[in-house]
Protein backbone atom coordinates (compact mmCIF):
# COMPACT_ATOMS: atom_id res chain seq x y z
CA UNK A 1 0.00 0.00 0.00
CA UNK A 2 1.36 3.40 -0.87
CA UNK A 3 2.56 5.42 2.11
CA UNK A 4 1.45 8.76 0.67
CA UNK A 5 -2.01 9.73 -0.56
CA UNK A 6 -2.82 13.04 -2.14
CA UNK A 7 -5.97 14.26 -0.36
CA UNK A 8 -6.66 17.79 -1.50
CA UNK A 9 -5.50 20.40 -3.99
CA UNK A 10 -6.56 24.01 -4.26
CA UNK A 11 -5.42 26.62 -6.72
CA UNK A 12 -6.47 30.21 -6.33
CA UNK A 13 -7.90 30.86 -9.77
CA UNK A 14 -7.08 34.08 -11.59
CA UNK A 15 -9.51 36.87 -10.72
CA UNK A 16 -10.63 35.02 -7.60
CA UNK A 17 -8.18 35.71 -4.79
CA UNK A 18 -9.16 34.17 -1.47
CA UNK A 19 -8.55 34.93 2.19
CA UNK A 20 -8.98 31.35 3.36
CA UNK A 21 -8.47 27.82 2.06
CA UNK A 22 -10.30 25.16 4.12
CA UNK A 23 -10.21 21.38 3.95
CA UNK A 24 -13.02 19.65 5.84
CA UNK A 25 -13.87 16.02 6.63
CA UNK A 26 -10.21 15.06 6.76
CA UNK A 27 -9.89 11.30 6.99
CA UNK A 28 -8.61 9.83 10.27
CA UNK A 29 -7.01 6.86 8.55
CA UNK A 30 -3.56 8.44 8.27
CA UNK A 31 -0.76 8.69 10.80
CA UNK A 32 0.56 12.02 9.60
CA UNK A 33 -0.40 14.87 7.34
CA UNK A 34 1.77 17.05 5.13
CA UNK A 35 0.83 20.38 3.56
CA UNK A 36 2.73 22.01 0.71
CA UNK A 37 1.97 25.65 -0.05
CA UNK A 38 3.17 27.90 -2.85
CA UNK A 39 1.46 31.19 -1.99
CA UNK A 40 1.77 34.95 -2.26
CA UNK A 41 0.02 37.78 -0.42
CA UNK A 42 -2.05 40.40 -2.21
CA UNK A 43 -0.97 43.40 -0.12
CA UNK A 44 2.29 45.08 0.84
CA UNK A 45 4.65 44.11 3.64
CA UNK A 46 8.39 44.51 3.58
CA UNK A 47 9.02 41.55 5.89
CA UNK A 48 6.59 39.17 4.21
CA UNK A 49 3.20 38.10 5.50
CA UNK A 50 2.53 35.37 8.01
CA UNK A 51 -0.34 33.07 7.25
CA UNK A 52 -2.31 31.19 9.86
CA UNK A 53 -3.14 27.54 10.19
CA UNK A 54 -6.42 26.90 12.01
CA UNK A 55 -7.43 23.47 13.29
CA UNK A 56 -11.08 22.43 13.58
CA UNK A 57 -12.19 26.05 13.32
CA UNK A 58 -10.51 26.99 16.61
CA UNK A 59 -9.44 30.64 16.22
CA UNK A 60 -8.58 31.20 19.90
CA UNK A 61 -4.95 32.33 19.89
CA UNK A 62 -4.31 31.07 23.41
CA UNK A 63 -5.02 27.53 22.21
CA UNK A 64 -1.93 27.68 20.01
CA UNK A 65 1.75 27.97 20.78
CA UNK A 66 4.59 28.29 18.33
CA UNK A 67 8.36 28.25 18.51
CA UNK A 68 10.01 29.94 15.58
CA UNK A 69 13.40 30.50 14.00
CA UNK A 70 13.54 33.37 11.53
CA UNK A 71 16.32 34.74 9.34
CA UNK A 72 14.95 37.89 7.76
CA UNK A 73 18.20 39.76 8.43
CA UNK A 74 21.79 38.59 8.88
CA UNK A 75 21.02 37.68 12.48
CA UNK A 76 18.77 34.67 13.04
CA UNK A 77 16.19 35.15 15.76
CA UNK A 78 14.02 32.72 17.62
CA UNK A 79 11.30 32.76 20.21
CA UNK A 80 7.98 31.41 21.33
CA UNK A 81 4.55 32.99 21.11
CA UNK A 82 0.95 32.11 21.74
CA UNK A 83 -1.04 32.32 18.56
CA UNK A 84 -1.59 30.58 15.27
CA UNK A 85 -0.01 33.07 12.92
CA UNK A 86 3.57 31.85 12.74
CA UNK A 87 2.84 28.73 10.73
CA UNK A 88 4.45 30.08 7.57
CA UNK A 89 5.56 33.23 5.80
CA UNK A 90 4.92 34.24 2.21
CA UNK A 91 6.08 36.98 -0.17
CA UNK A 92 4.00 40.15 -0.47
CA UNK A 93 3.51 42.64 -3.26
CA UNK A 94 6.75 44.30 -2.12
CA UNK A 95 8.73 41.23 -3.17
CA UNK A 96 10.04 40.19 -6.58
CA UNK A 97 7.06 39.79 -8.93
CA UNK A 98 5.69 36.30 -9.60
CA UNK A 99 7.58 34.86 -6.62
CA UNK A 100 5.70 32.55 -4.24
CA UNK A 101 6.45 30.80 -0.95
CA UNK A 102 8.03 27.38 -0.41
CA UNK A 103 6.18 26.05 2.61
CA UNK A 104 6.09 22.48 3.87
CA UNK A 105 4.08 21.85 7.04
CA UNK A 106 4.26 18.48 8.75
CA UNK A 107 1.55 17.38 11.15
CA UNK A 108 2.92 14.25 12.82
CA UNK A 109 0.35 12.13 14.62
CA UNK A 110 -2.28 14.71 13.59
CA UNK A 111 -1.45 16.93 16.55
CA UNK A 112 1.41 19.22 15.70
CA UNK A 113 1.92 21.63 12.88
CA UNK A 114 5.64 22.18 12.31
CA UNK A 115 6.50 24.14 15.43
CA UNK A 116 2.91 25.28 15.88
CA UNK A 117 1.31 23.41 18.76
CA UNK A 118 -2.45 23.16 19.11
CA UNK A 119 -3.42 22.64 22.74
CA UNK A 120 -6.29 20.31 21.99
CA UNK A 121 -6.31 16.54 21.72
CA UNK A 122 -9.34 16.26 19.47
CA UNK A 123 -8.73 14.57 16.16
CA UNK A 124 -8.12 17.04 13.36
CA UNK A 125 -10.98 16.95 10.89
CA UNK A 126 -10.62 20.41 9.42
CA UNK A 127 -7.66 22.60 8.50
CA UNK A 128 -7.84 26.18 7.29
CA UNK A 129 -5.07 28.36 5.98
CA UNK A 130 -5.82 32.03 6.41
CA UNK A 131 -3.88 34.70 4.58
CA UNK A 132 -3.90 36.98 7.62
CA UNK A 133 -3.90 40.75 7.75
CA UNK A 134 -7.34 40.87 6.20
CA UNK A 135 -6.05 40.45 2.67
CA UNK A 136 -5.87 37.56 0.20
CA UNK A 137 -3.75 34.85 -1.26
CA UNK A 138 -3.16 35.93 -4.88
CA UNK A 139 -4.11 34.00 -8.00
CA UNK A 140 -1.97 30.95 -8.79
CA UNK A 141 -1.31 30.23 -5.10
CA UNK A 142 -1.51 26.46 -4.62
CA UNK A 143 -2.23 24.29 -1.57
CA UNK A 144 -1.82 20.52 -1.35
CA UNK A 145 -2.72 18.18 1.50
CA UNK A 146 -1.18 14.71 1.76
CA UNK A 147 -1.97 11.83 4.12
CA UNK A 148 0.89 9.57 5.18
CA UNK A 149 0.52 6.06 6.52
CA UNK A 150 2.70 4.40 9.11
CA UNK A 151 3.70 0.75 9.12
Amino acid sequence: MAAWTHLEHDTIIGGLPATTVTWSSISQSYDHLCIKVSARYSAAGSAGQLHDVVYNGDTTDSDYSNTYLIASTTTPTMGRLDGRSYAAIMPTSDFLADTFSTTTIWIPALRWCATLFHENNDAITEISMVAGGGQDFVADSTFDLYGILGA
Binding site: H6, S38, L96, S101, T102, D140, T142, D144
Partner: protein, 176 residues
Protein backbone atom coordinates in the same frame (compact mmCIF):
# COMPACT_ATOMS: atom_id res chain seq x y z
CA UNK B 1 -0.55 6.73 -9.54
CA UNK B 2 1.76 6.98 -6.55
CA UNK B 3 2.02 10.40 -4.92
CA UNK B 4 5.81 10.33 -5.02
CA UNK B 5 7.49 8.77 -8.04
CA UNK B 6 11.18 8.46 -8.79
CA UNK B 7 11.79 10.10 -12.15
CA UNK B 8 15.54 9.52 -12.46
CA UNK B 9 18.58 8.56 -10.40
CA UNK B 10 22.17 9.36 -11.24
CA UNK B 11 24.81 7.43 -9.34
CA UNK B 12 28.35 8.46 -10.16
CA UNK B 13 30.60 5.53 -10.98
CA UNK B 14 33.29 8.10 -11.76
CA UNK B 15 33.89 11.74 -10.89
CA UNK B 16 31.64 14.07 -12.90
CA UNK B 17 31.67 17.81 -13.45
CA UNK B 18 27.88 18.13 -13.15
CA UNK B 19 24.63 16.17 -13.08
CA UNK B 20 21.73 17.06 -15.35
CA UNK B 21 18.09 15.98 -15.36
CA UNK B 22 16.51 16.63 -18.76
CA UNK B 23 13.04 16.21 -20.27
CA UNK B 24 11.43 16.47 -16.83
CA UNK B 25 7.71 15.57 -17.12
CA UNK B 26 5.19 18.32 -16.42
CA UNK B 27 2.67 15.92 -14.90
CA UNK B 28 3.60 16.60 -11.26
CA UNK B 29 2.82 19.47 -8.91
CA UNK B 30 6.19 19.62 -7.16
CA UNK B 31 9.67 18.15 -7.57
CA UNK B 32 12.15 16.94 -5.01
CA UNK B 33 15.82 16.01 -5.38
CA UNK B 34 17.53 13.92 -2.73
CA UNK B 35 21.29 14.01 -2.82
CA UNK B 36 24.24 12.35 -1.16
CA UNK B 37 27.18 14.14 -2.68
CA UNK B 38 30.70 15.39 -2.24
CA UNK B 39 32.80 17.94 -4.09
CA UNK B 40 36.36 17.38 -5.26
CA UNK B 41 37.31 20.87 -4.05
CA UNK B 42 40.85 20.70 -2.63
CA UNK B 43 41.11 23.98 -0.74
CA UNK B 44 38.29 23.53 1.76
CA UNK B 45 36.12 20.91 3.42
CA UNK B 46 33.00 22.58 2.02
CA UNK B 47 31.78 23.71 -1.38
CA UNK B 48 28.59 25.32 -2.65
CA UNK B 49 26.03 23.42 -4.66
CA UNK B 50 24.96 25.46 -7.69
CA UNK B 51 21.58 24.80 -9.29
CA UNK B 52 20.63 25.84 -12.81
CA UNK B 53 17.05 25.65 -14.03
CA UNK B 54 16.06 25.46 -17.66
CA UNK B 55 13.08 25.48 -19.96
CA UNK B 56 12.62 24.31 -23.53
CA UNK B 57 15.64 22.09 -22.99
CA UNK B 58 17.97 25.06 -22.39
CA UNK B 59 19.57 25.88 -19.05
CA UNK B 60 19.60 29.45 -17.81
CA UNK B 61 23.19 30.13 -16.74
CA UNK B 62 22.76 33.89 -16.21
CA UNK B 63 23.69 34.71 -12.62
CA UNK B 64 21.38 37.72 -12.47
CA UNK B 65 18.32 35.50 -12.82
CA UNK B 66 18.85 33.73 -9.52
CA UNK B 67 18.88 34.53 -5.83
CA UNK B 68 18.91 32.75 -2.48
CA UNK B 69 18.54 33.21 1.24
CA UNK B 70 20.14 31.11 3.93
CA UNK B 71 20.09 30.30 7.62
CA UNK B 72 23.14 28.31 8.56
CA UNK B 73 25.07 26.85 11.41
CA UNK B 74 28.79 26.22 10.96
CA UNK B 75 30.29 24.57 14.01
CA UNK B 76 28.89 26.72 16.86
CA UNK B 77 28.21 29.87 14.82
CA UNK B 78 24.80 30.65 13.30
CA UNK B 79 24.43 33.07 10.41
CA UNK B 80 21.89 34.25 7.89
CA UNK B 81 21.86 36.32 4.74
CA UNK B 82 20.54 36.91 1.26
CA UNK B 83 22.15 37.30 -2.15
CA UNK B 84 20.51 38.13 -5.45
CA UNK B 85 21.93 38.08 -8.96
CA UNK B 86 24.75 35.75 -7.98
CA UNK B 87 23.60 32.32 -9.08
CA UNK B 88 21.71 29.89 -6.87
CA UNK B 89 24.49 28.57 -4.64
CA UNK B 90 23.35 26.43 -1.73
CA UNK B 91 25.89 26.20 1.10
CA UNK B 92 27.48 23.85 2.11
CA UNK B 93 28.10 20.37 0.82
CA UNK B 94 31.09 18.35 1.92
CA UNK B 95 34.36 18.67 -0.05
CA UNK B 96 37.37 16.38 -0.20
CA UNK B 97 39.92 19.00 0.86
CA UNK B 98 42.70 17.01 -0.77
CA UNK B 99 41.84 13.88 1.17
CA UNK B 100 41.62 15.54 4.58
CA UNK B 101 37.92 14.78 5.02
CA UNK B 102 36.94 11.18 5.65
CA UNK B 103 36.66 9.50 2.24
CA UNK B 104 33.50 7.68 3.30
CA UNK B 105 31.69 10.84 4.38
CA UNK B 106 29.26 12.54 2.02
CA UNK B 107 26.98 15.56 2.43
CA UNK B 108 23.20 15.25 2.35
CA UNK B 109 20.56 17.52 0.84
CA UNK B 110 16.84 17.52 0.18
CA UNK B 111 15.76 20.14 -2.34
CA UNK B 112 12.04 20.85 -2.80
CA UNK B 113 10.96 22.69 -5.96
CA UNK B 114 7.43 24.02 -5.71
CA UNK B 115 4.76 24.24 -8.43
CA UNK B 116 7.35 24.11 -11.21
CA UNK B 117 4.74 24.23 -13.98
CA UNK B 118 2.77 27.16 -12.57
CA UNK B 119 2.71 30.67 -13.98
CA UNK B 120 5.18 31.87 -11.39
CA UNK B 121 8.89 32.10 -10.74
CA UNK B 122 10.48 28.82 -9.71
CA UNK B 123 11.05 28.74 -5.97
CA UNK B 124 12.70 26.06 -3.89
CA UNK B 125 13.79 25.25 -0.37
CA UNK B 126 16.66 23.07 0.81
CA UNK B 127 17.83 21.34 3.92
CA UNK B 128 21.45 20.30 3.77
CA UNK B 129 24.24 19.21 6.05
CA UNK B 130 27.72 17.79 6.15
CA UNK B 131 30.39 16.80 8.61
CA UNK B 132 34.00 17.57 7.73
CA UNK B 133 36.49 19.47 9.82
CA UNK B 134 33.45 21.53 10.76
CA UNK B 135 29.85 20.47 10.88
CA UNK B 136 27.49 22.40 8.62
CA UNK B 137 23.74 22.55 8.71
CA UNK B 138 21.66 24.92 6.65
CA UNK B 139 18.11 25.70 5.67
CA UNK B 140 17.87 27.76 2.51
CA UNK B 141 15.45 29.07 -0.08
CA UNK B 142 16.11 30.09 -3.65
CA UNK B 143 14.41 31.34 -6.77
CA UNK B 144 14.77 31.45 -10.52
CA UNK B 145 13.35 34.69 -11.90
CA UNK B 146 11.48 33.05 -14.77
CA UNK B 147 7.82 32.00 -14.99
CA UNK B 148 8.48 29.28 -17.57
CA UNK B 149 7.89 25.57 -16.92
CA UNK B 150 11.02 23.87 -15.62
CA UNK B 151 12.00 20.89 -17.79
CA UNK B 152 15.72 20.77 -17.11
CA UNK B 153 17.83 21.03 -13.95
CA UNK B 154 21.59 20.95 -13.63
CA UNK B 155 23.51 20.47 -10.39
CA UNK B 156 27.07 21.79 -10.23
CA UNK B 157 29.67 22.87 -7.71
CA UNK B 158 30.67 26.47 -7.04
CA UNK B 159 34.37 25.54 -6.95
CA UNK B 160 34.63 21.88 -7.90
CA UNK B 161 35.79 20.81 -10.39
CA UNK B 162 33.82 17.58 -9.88
CA UNK B 163 31.30 15.66 -7.86
CA UNK B 164 33.19 12.68 -6.52
CA UNK B 165 32.52 9.08 -7.42
CA UNK B 166 29.85 7.64 -5.14
CA UNK B 167 27.67 10.75 -5.18
CA UNK B 168 24.02 9.98 -5.85
CA UNK B 169 21.15 12.19 -7.00
CA UNK B 170 17.49 11.17 -7.32
CA UNK B 171 14.75 13.34 -8.82
CA UNK B 172 11.22 12.69 -7.58
CA UNK B 173 7.88 13.98 -8.84
CA UNK B 174 5.14 14.74 -6.30
CA UNK B 175 1.56 14.78 -7.52
CA UNK B 176 -0.92 17.48 -6.64
Amino acid sequence: MAVIEAIATTYLEADASSVTFSSIPTTYEHLQIRMSMKSERAGSDVDGLRVYFGTGGTLDTVAANYGYHWMRGVATTPSAGRLTGTYLNFQNMLAAQGGVTNAANFGAMILDIFDYTGAKNTTCSALMGSTGNWSNLSFETGYWDNVAVVDKIQLDQVNGPNFLRGSEFTLYGITG
